[in-house]
């Protein structure tokens, strides 16, 4: 997550834009909502450093939403006059065409850093390899388990699964938001405890296990 600032800093040094893709789903997907939180942070940093921000999407409904998120971040950063340097581009309703369109933008605009956050289908590789070929620094984050290996293979940094949901809270550094991350961790601890109990019970009393205490229990 620290690499997000590094990636924007790289774009500022090179004087080239950063590209953000909020995934292939619309706002009804929880991963897209998590990605919008990251977009807010990225837009805020871009406003501070004066880095142009390009957002590409395959969902028309995401255009005004992303614009609002960016506008809000620019306002919060005290640089609303730089809002015109950012652009939200709807490329195509087909996610593969959007990925290719984004790859063309990366090459033409010499994009320095690429952020791929949200839910992805098979186009995860089309998106990330486009950035790899254009020589961009890439940070990806998704909750789609099957797409994570592709991102690991093509991106510099990968935010995996539940880290995506914690990302925007972590970046905001607000105590209340961080509290929800701590809640996530306690939830995991609780589940781990249940798993440990399950392993013990299943080993001792599970039918078909070598020890098979269950059968012993009912042998009179």
């Amino acid at each position: 997550m620290v690499a997000i600032d590094e990636a924007i800093g790289r774009a500022a040094e090179l004087g080239t834009p950063v590209l953000f893709n909020p995934g292939t789903e619309d706002y009804t997907n929880i991963q897209t909502l998590a990605a919008l939180g990251v977009l807010g942070h990225v837009a805020g940093k871009c406003a501070v450093f004066g880095v142009p921000l390009i957002v590409t999407t395959c969902k028309p409904v995401m255009v005004p939403i992303c614009e609002d998120v960016i506008r809000s971040s620019y306002d919060k950063a005290g640089r609303p006059e730089l809002m015109h340097t950012s652009e939200v581009r709807f490329i195509s309703t087909q996610s593969d065409l959007t990925a290719l369109g984004a790859a063309a933008i990366m090459k033409d605009r010499r994009v320095a850093s690429v952020f791929l956050f949200g839910s992805y289908d098979y186009t995860s590789l089309l998106n990330s390899e486009g950035g790899q070929l254009a020589g961009c620094m890439q940070i990806a984050g998704t909750g789609e388990i099957y797409q994570i290996p592709f991102f690991i293979a093509s991106c510099d940094y990968v935010v995996m699964v539940e880290e995506l949901f914690a990302c925007s809270s972590y970046l905001s550094r607000e105590p209340v938001m961080m509290g929800s991350v701590a809640g996530q961790d306690y939830g995991k601890l609780f589940l781990l405890g249940i798993i440990a109990v399950g392993i013990v019970v299943s080993t001792l009393y599970g039918i078909g296990n070598p020890i098979n205490g269950f059968e012993r229990l009912f042998v009179f």
Partner: protein, 407 residues
């Protein structure tokens, strides 16, 4: 600007209210609904007339796949017509419906107007009906054996209907309840809310509820059509906006102006492809559309999809370079799993006897997939669920200020 904002707020509020009420309003009118265990039922029937021919009476009862199905013609968001199955309640007298019987496979062709099935059932065309392919609507001139086909009466008008009746066993004994034109039949599930069914879908012993269908249930499709109209208008506005933008680029000869020519070329191609798209397949009227859709657009799509293979090879090369201990572990496990799923992997370790079967590559690969891989998968799934709940709560309580606004 203020007016537009108010309109947006009002429309959004009404739409939200509608969908909320659609959620909470029960499917049948409370108070006058009746609920009991089903003992027997009489199926509904409908008379449908096409043109000047005599109405055809359909008994709506399940018998193999030969239950007449009522279909209503609607359009999807792209304007493509599609037939949607409807209940008898939804087909009022005077409504335009398509009735489909099948699909079935004919065992014997008696004559071009009638066929017999393997179980001896004989099916004949009545005036206004035609043979169609499979479960689709493409007409076929003569019936064929061995291929699934159906009988359709296209765009018929409902002349009359009998909704049928249900015998219930209630505390007061066995009672027969006739169904009205607008009576909804809800089959209650043991778990969950159940759903509206046709009378002949009920089984003896099912618990069913009948009562006048509420307005929200009936207008669910209307709301969906409203959505379709808005989407279609958005497409039109988008096309106009794109056209204006690219015209401006061409007139002002901006950088890359020649690319705008491709936009107009693509629009022209799309229009040509759209003409005749809904004609019968194989006809001359559809040939141009088929050429653009199947020969041009499908080929281009396949080419884009095939890019994945090259990208995957490049990504795999980078991922499998053994630079660290983790990369070596991944490379080794990937090699075992890949080899273990091929006949060659089996061949490599088959020389080991049965007593060492645990060391056979397919068994090691299976263990990797079944034990370590499954446990990691489950861990990740727990993480996704917890993260999704935490994110949903943050949005719910407007804590995600970068999106929901606020300081």
């Amino acid at each position: 600007m203020k007016g537009r904002r108010i309109i947006t707020i009002v429309v959004t509020f009404i739409a939200g209210l509608y969908f909320l009420l659609d959620f909470i309003v029960p499917p049948t009118m409370p108070g006058v609904s009746f609920q009991a265990v089903v003992a027997d039922w009489k199926p509904g029937s409908v008379s449908v007339r096409s043109g000047t021919s005599a109405p055809i009476l359909y008994q709506l009862i399940s018998k193999n796949n030969l239950r007449p199905q009522l279909l209503s013609s609607q359009r999807d968001t792209l304007g493509k017509p599609k037939l949607t199955a409807i209940l008898l309640r939804e087909a009022g007298v005077g409504a335009k419906v398509t009735v489909r019987i099948g699909p079935f496979v004919a065992a014997h062709i008696i004559n071009p107007q009638s066929v017999s099935l393997a179980d001896g059932t004989q099916l004949s065309l009545s005036p206004g009906q035609k043979w169609v392919t499979g479960a689709g609507s493409d007409p076929i001139a003569t019936p064929t054996t061995g291929q699934p086909m159906s009988i359709e009466q296209v765009d018929g008008i409902v002349v009359s209907k009998d909704p049928g009746s249900i015998d219930f066993i209630s505390r007061s004994g066995r009672v027969t309840r006739s169904l009205g034109d607008h009576t909804a039949v809800i089959k209650l599930a043991r778990n969950g809310p159940g759903g509206e069914v046709s009378v002949d879908d009920l089984k003896v012993g099912d618990t069913a509820q009948i009562g006048p269908a509420t307005t929200f249930v009936d207008n669910r499709d209307t709301a969906a059509q409203f959505n379709t109209v808005i989407t279609t208008m958005a497409f039109g506005i988008g096309l106009l906006s794109l056209g204006m933008t690219h015209t401006r680029i061409l007139v002002q000869r901006k950088t890359g102006w020649y690319l705008s020519i491709f936009f107009f070329f693509a629009v022209a191609m799309g229009v040509i492809a759209g003409v005749g798209k809904y004609e019968d397949p194989g006809t001359a009227a559809r040939a141009t559309s088929d050429f653009f859709v199947l020969r041009v657009i499908a080929s281009v799509n396949s080419a884009i999809f095939s890019l994945l293979a090259f990208y995957m090879a490049a990504a795999a090369y980078r991922a499998f370079r053994v630079k660290t201990a983790e990369a070596a572990l991944m490379m080794t496990s990937a090699l075992i799993v890949m080899l273990g799923q091929t006949p060659f992997g089996s061949y490599l370790t088959s020389w080991m006897g049965e007593q060492y079967s645990a060391l056979w590559l397919p068994n090691i690969a299976g263990w990797i997939l079944r034990v370590p891989n499954t446990s990691v998968f489950r861990g990740l799934t727990f993480g996704v669920m917890l993260g999704a709940i935490a994110t949903a709560l943050r949005y719910w309580f407007s804590m995600e200020k970068s999106v929901s606004g606020g300081e």
